[in-house]
C-alpha cells in the first residue's frame, strides 16, 4: 500500500528525514517510536503533504501512485488520514459541517453521490456513541474550546466517518486519560481490517497495550534504525532509546 524509499525532507534550514525507508501493506498495523526530534511527526506531515516540509530526496508510492505529486486534499480523498498531534481550532465552523463536507468530497472523488443530511447525522451519532462522545459536539466549532482529550476523540470520529485506507495517528495517545485512551484504541481497532493499514506514531508502549502492532520501528535522526515485532516496544520501554542507538551504531 505504502512504499517509502530513501525519503529525505527538510523544514526551514534543518534536515529532518535523512533517508527513511518503510513498507506498509494492507491489513498491517505499524508503530513508529522514537525520541523527540527524531522525525516522527515530520514523517506524518510529509505523507499528508504539508507544504512546509520540503522533500529533498527519495520517493513515496501509495497504492501504485506517486504520492508526492498529489495535493494534500487529493491524498485525503485517496484515503490517507492524518490524526493530528495538535488538532487546530477553527472558530465558527460547525464540526458537523466540516465532517459532512469531508465525507462528500471523498464520495465525489470516488464517483459516489453525496450523502444526505439525515443519513449523515444518523451515522455520525452512531460513531459518536461508540466513542463515548456527546452528540452536542457536532454543533460546536471545529475543536473550538475542546479539551485535549475531546480533540483527540474528535480526530478518531473523523477517521471513523472517513474510513481511510491508510490512517496515520500522530501521538494520538498523548495527554489522554485512561478512559479516553481506551475509547481511542477501540476506535482504531474497529477500523482494523484486511484492506486498511494503520501507522501509529507514539512515544510510549502504553497505547500498544490496547492496539497490538504487527511491526514496531524505531526512528532516530531521520532514519529507521531498528524494526521488529511488538516485543521491540516492550524492550524499548525497559531499556530506553539509548540502547537501540548504541546497538545500531555498534
Amino acid at each position: 500500500m505504502l512504499e517509502i524509499n530513501n525519503l529525505k525532507s527538510r523544514v526551514g534550514d534543518s534536515d529532518i528525514l535523512r533517508g527513511l525507508s518503510l513498507s506498509v501493506n494492507a491489513g498491517e498495523v505499524h508503530a513508529i517510536m522514537g525520541p523527540n526530534g527524531s522525525g516522527k511527526s515530520t514523517l506524518a506531515q510529509v505523507i499528508a503533504g504539508h507544504e512546509d516540509y520540503v522533500v529533498t530526496g527519495g520517493d513515496v508510492q501509495y497504492q501504485g501512485k506517486d504520492l508526492l505529486d498529489l495535493k494534500p486534499e487529493e491524498r485525503a480523498r485517496e484515503g490517507i488520514f492524518l490524526g493530528f498531534q495538535y488538532p487546530v481550532e477553527i472558530p465558527g465552523v460547525n464540526n458537523a459541517y466540516l465532517l459532512k463536507a469531508a465525507v462528500n468530497a471523498k464520495r465525489k472523488h470516488q464517483g459516489l453521490g453525496e450523502v444526505d443530511a439525515f443519513e449523515f447525522l444518523k451515522l455520525a451519532r452512531e460513531k459518536m456513541a461508540a466513542l463515548g462522545m456527546d452528540p452536542k459536539f457536532l454543533n460546536r466549532g471545529v475543536n473550538e474550546g475542546f479539551s485535549g482529550g475531546e480533540k483527540k476523540r474528535n480526530e478518531i470520529l473523523q477517521m471513523a466517518m472517513l474510513e481511510p485506507s491508510l490512517a496515520i495517528l500522530d501521538e494520538t495517545d498523548s495527554g489522554l486519560d485512561i478512559d479516553a485512551l481506551k475509547a481511542v484504541a477501540q476506535g482504531v481497532n474497529t477500523l482494523r481490517g484486511p484492506d486498511r493499514a494503520i501507522i501509529l506514531i507514539t512515544h510510549y508502549q502504553r497505547l500498544l497495550d490496547y492496539i497490538e502492532p504487527d511491526f514496531v520501528h524505531v526512528l532516530s535522526e531521520g532514519r529507521i534504525i531498528r524494526s521488529g515485532d511488538k516485543t521491540l516496544a516492550l524492550e524499548l520501554e525497559e531499556k530506553g532509546y539509548e540502547w537501540v542507538r548504541e546497538a545500531a551504531s555498534a
Binding site: H50, E73, F84, I90, P91, V93, N94
Partner: protein, 480 residues
Amino acid sequence: MTSENIESIVNRRYEHGFVTDIETESLPPGLDEGVVRAISARKNEPEFMLEWRLQAYRQWLEMAEPEWAHLHYPPVKFNEISYYAAPKSDADRPKSLDEVDPKLLETYDKLGIPLHERARLAGVAVDAVFDSVSVATTFKDKLSEAGVIFCSFSEAVREHPELVKKYLGSVVPRRDNFYAALNSAVFSDGSFVYIPKGVRCPMELSTYFRINAANTGQFERTLIIADEGSHVSYLEGCTAPMRDENQLHAAVVELVALEGAEIKYSTVQNWYPGDENGVGGIYNFVTKRGDCRGANSKISWTQVETGSAITWKYPSCLLRGENSVGEFYSVAVANNMQQADTGTKMIHIGANTSSTIVSKGISAGKAQNAYRGLVKVMPQAHGARNHTQCDSLLIGKECGAHTFPYMEIKNPSARIEHEATTSKISADQLFYCRQRGISEEDAVNMIVNGFCKEVFKELPMEFAVEAQALLNVSLEGAVG
C-alpha cells in the same frame, strides 16, 4: 413568487405609462435650484416637500465634503452627475440574457439566483429603480388588512403627507452631514413603511435597489416608522451593473421606533465594486440612523457589505427611550482595490439603554477595510451597557485592516467593553481542512464563513444563504 406573478406586475407598471413620462423629463447633469424644483415638480410633490428640498439644497451649498475617513479617492464632480435617475428606454436595454455581460450572469449563477430573477436583476425586463416596491404590491391586500403602509416614498408624500411631515428629517436632519443634505435636496424615491400600534408586520418587507443609468447619482430615501408595540423586519438588497466610471450613491435611511416597538433592518449590499484594477464601481456614501424614541424599543442593524468601490456608512442608533436596545451586526468584505470605512454609532441617552456591536471585517487583495465606531454615553444615561466585538481577518500581504473605535463616556454607571482582534487564516487551519479532503478554496470559504457566523445568524434565513454565497464570490481569487 411565480414568474407569472412577476410578469403581471411588470405589465401593470407599464400600463401606468411610467416610462414614457420620464423619458421626456430626464434631467441633464448638474445641480442648481432649478434641478431641485424640477425633481419636485416631476413628482407632483406638495409645496412643503419642495420647500424642504430647497432648504436642504441651500444648506448643502454651505457644507464641505467630509475628509476624516480612512479613504482615498478623486474628488466627486457634483456637476457632472445627473440628479434624476431616468430609467433607460426599452431600446437601450438588453433584449435578452444573451446581451447581458457574461461575467454578471456568472455571478448570478454562483449566487443561485433563479433564472427569472436574473433577468430582472440584469435589467432585461424591468427598468425600475425600486423593483421590489412594486413586487410588494402583490401583498398590498394582506398588508393593508393589518394596517401596514408599505409604498414608494413618492406615493407616501402624496397619500400620507401628515406622516411624512411628522417624521421626515426627524432622525437624520437635513444638514446632518454633506451627503445627507445632498440627498435631502435631490432624493429620487425610496421606501416608506408605517406599522400601526401593536401590529406585528405579517411578512418581511424587502426592497431591491439598483442603479441603472450611467453618470447618474442615486439618492434614495427610506423612512420606517414602527408605532407603539409594533414589529417589522425589513430587507434591503443592492446591485448595480458594471460600468467604467464611478457612480455616486448617497442614500438616507431613517428609522423611528416608538415605545415597545422593534425594527430589524437587514442589508446585503453588493453594488458594483469596480474591477481588479479599481476601475469603476459605486461610491456608497450612506447615512443610516435609527431612533429608539420610545421606552423599551429596539433597533437592530445587520449588514453584509461586499460591494462598492468605496463604502462610507455608519448605521447608528439613538437610544433615547429608557431600556431601549441598539444592535449592529456587520460583515464588511473588501477585495481588490475596494475601500471600506464602516461601523456604527451608539448614542446612549436614556436610562438603562444597552447596545451590542459585532463587526467582522475581511480584507483581501489590495483593499483597505476600516471599522469606525462611536459609543457615547451621555451624563443622564444611567446604567448604560455596551459590548463591542470587532474582528479583522486579513487575506494576503497587500491589504489593510484598521480599527478606530471611539468611546466617550460621561456617566459613572456605564459598563462599556470593547474587544478587537486581527488575524489571518492560519496555514494550520487550511492544512487541517485539506487533509480532510476539502479543497483550498472551499476551506477558505468555510473558515471565512465561520469567522462571520455571529453576524450571519442575525440575518433572515434566505438572506443568510445569499450572503454566504456572495462572500464566497467576493473573495474569489483572493487566496493562492
